[in-house]
Symmetry: C2
């Protein structure tokens, strides 16, 4: 049963399971108590902290455990923003950070008025160090940059950005949730966060490292546990399991990364050959070893996931049609790439080659099946001979109001052959995904995206036929 | 090895262990995902929610899981305070709430200026419904009352207070951390919080129930998990174990409560017979079945815990000398009872009678050993024939500045026999515990506590000999 969504959550590592079971007998007491059971629990917690700190590359007293990676991000950001209030209230983030970072920044802005500066990314999803450095201002209290993107796998230039931040005296928080199992984060970061269930540890454990010297003032109700930085009674067996499995995956990381990278390279190369009208997104080289993302024109992401699940493959998607908000992933949007029919494949450690091969066998039929049901245009060639247009100048209007992704793009493609070269098709749509997917369609098809303008009940997207 | 600190954290219940292990294989995936592994994790989470809701006495969609009881309290309080901001910013709490409640109230006051009203308690640690009702004001947005006190075991009149709150339209949050394993909380409460490791579940799981109709606006960064009320990836195996063990302890609760109540009654009756100068605190009847607290005059709490630990008994203490803050427990202070030599015994389910009997055998020798080392007065009789006093009117001054609990009280007791009836002893002390323990000593000895006044480098506490 191939599970290809390690970037959401990895199956429990055997070492995590062993460590969890081994510490259930001694890890239940309050580690702050002076008696025997408390001391034993405290020793387990200390040992886990030392192991985790070594893997992170910090001192044990710089690292606290939190109930999740999300809590680590929230506590890290709010602690710096409170501690550096005198400097200012500004926050700089990349446009493709995890939602925990972006939502914390938005909450900060709403509560304090501190401005959030989003650093744009290139078409691969990466910031450039210069652009990032240019977004740091006098009143920037905190900068945030992920080590690698969770949706497309692109690695960020963390060391260069950290250096730029250091030279301006701005602490950089690195969300290392996706990469920490593969290795430590290089460079002069100030804070680092991680999430155990991403590397095969249990849920319920995050970590937050704060370098000595960073001004940090925990926000929220006082609680003396974890240096005052993470309230609540800790789940010590889970923490022990998290630290043990981080050590274990690190020991296997170099060999497993090389093996998975080869499998991912195969997917990156073969999918566009096997499936027409596909865009592979994310950086081809500077990327996580186990993760690849592609989008398929004329495909409903939810239907695609459903069919892949029926074929026993578990993957995730950044398409709007699989989210409750009806908007495409903010990552794909920031990259300006196609969002419809989006599939993220993230291989857990140990994925057999044969599962990847079977995925490549199954995928083409699944995609064509979904396209067929939607009545999508077939063949990847250009439009046929232009039919007569019904307006002066050879223009057509397609009314796709009320229709969701990928229908507006399908309707566009269906009629596109009917306008002469030089003519335009205008798509009326009230679907958020159209704003991303119609320009992406033009790019893939080599046609000209003219632009958008407001229209009754939606937006009019204009495309000109150039070939 | 008798562990008598269940009120801090209970050993993992066998059912929790089984449920945890049984759900490790299926509980690691993201329950929000549509694929097979996600659906399985989601089913486990749904089932756990239903079981927990049934035990709490609410609808499943009224209950969310949090990473700890502390998180449940923080989220519950901040959610109501945000949601009812238009009503006002006032918070009413009992003076003996858990620190998570008091610290959240203090943080709210610091951030918003909303006043915190503390409802005093009687000498048993209970509020009276009338006093509580009288503390509700026009601008009270939230009221908080524990179901039973965590340090002395006294049950609060929750149903009556809930009714008073209901009639005034103020939502009542009940911190049920100490009682939820024994049974549901009766009455028209609006919010309820609990903590799994108190009933034999794993650490890392709390629960928050919010009745339909309560205005609730989650504070902090947006996160769609757990109805937007508890951020972060959940530890589903731990949640499953928490719910399963709650069910299991409830099935045994009535019989086990009766059995432990008898053992606690034995401690309550025998300790004052076996150990001189002891005050048993907390309500004699309206109390948790498994918890008893007493304080020993002339005893250093930390030394007492240390000696009990050497004798294999794990207990906790609200004495100032065992805390990092050098202040006695706020609960004992609010009750106005002796804090020195404080011992809380809380029996885990299944505690054998023989362990309690051995505790009663060991305790007198341990207490007298600690007293001997401190040079405490021996014998519980009144003072001997009064010695000549060194001032007019038969008064003495004892300088205990710089000396910590229990030394100021020991010094008082040592010289007390030297003043004539009608004379006074003035104790100079800069130890916070003296403010509580000197009046408590007077009460226990039947002497008159005259009062305190400021003095150089500390406070002067005046005691008059009346017999």
């Amino acid at each position: 049963m191939p599970y290809f969504d390690a970037a959401s959550s990895a199956p429990l590592h055997p070492v995590a399971r062993q460590a969890l079971q081994a510490s259930l007998d001694e890890g239940w007491a309050d580690p702050a108590r002076l008696y025997r059971e408390g001391r034993r629990a405290g020793l387990l917690l200390d040992a886990a902290r030392e192991a985790a700190a070594e893997a992170v590359g910090c001192r044990p007293d710089e690292l606290v455990f939190t109930p999740s990676g999300t809590h680590a991000v929230h506590a890290g950001m709010s602690g710096v923003l409170s501690g550096r209030r005198r400097v200012g209230l500004g926050v700089t983030v990349s446009a493709v950070e995890h939602s925990s970072v972006l939502h914390a920044a938005a909450a900060h802005e709403a509560a304090t008025g501190g401005a959030v500066t989003e650093v744009p990314v290139d078409r691969y999803g990466a910031v450039t160090p210069d652009t990032y450095a240019g977004a740091l201002r006098e009143d920037t209290a905190l900068a945030c940059l992920q080590s690698a993107n969770h949706e497309v796998g692109t690695e960020q230039p963390v060391a260069e950005v950290a250096e730029a931040c250091r030279s301006r005296g701005v602490p950089l928080l690195v969300d290392a949730a996706q990469s920490l199992g593969w290795g430590p984060v290089e460079g002069a970061w100030s804070l680092l966060t991680g999430s155990a269930h991403k590397w095969g540890g249990p849920g319920g454990v995050g970590l937050l490292a704060v370098r000595k010297g960073v001004r940090f003032a925990p926000r929220g109700p006082a609680d003396e546990r974890e240096s005052g930085r993470s309230p609540g009674f800790p789940n010590i067996p889970a923490i022990v399991a998290a630290a043990a499995s981080l050590r274990a995956v690190r020991a296997e990381a170099a060999a497993e990364a090389a093996r998975l990278r080869a499998l991912v390279d195969r997917i990156r190369a073969r999918v566009p050959e096997l499936v027409p009208d596909v865009e592979v997104v994310g950086h081809p080289e500077h990327r996580l070893p186990h993760l690849v993302t592609f989008s398929c024109l004329y495909v409903d992401g939810e239907a695609l996931l459903h069919e892949l699940d029926r074929a026993d493959f578990s993957v995730s998607s950044g398409s709007s049609c699989t989210s409750s908000t009806l908007t495409p992933s903010h990552v794909l949007r920031a990259m300006g790439v196609l969002s419809e029919g989006n599939v993220r494949v993230s291989l857990p450690a140990g994925t057999p080659e044969a599962e990847v091969d079977r995925f490549l066998e199954v995928l083409p039929g699944v995609v064509s099946g979904v396209r067929e049901k939607l009545g999508a245009p077939t063949g990847s060639g250009g439009p046929g001979a232009a039919a007569g247009a019904d307006e002066a100048g050879g223009s057509l209007v397609v009314d796709a109001l009320g229709r969701r992704c990928p229908i507006p793009v399908i309707e566009l493609a269906k009629v596109f052959g009917e306008v002469p070269v030089g003519g335009t098709v205008t798509v009326l749509s009230d679907d958020e995904a159209a704003r991303l997917d119609i320009p992406a369609w033009c790019e893939m098809r080599g046609q000209e995206y003219v632009g958008e303008r407001p229209a009754d009940h939606g937006v009019a997207y204009v495309v000109r036929r150039v070939s």
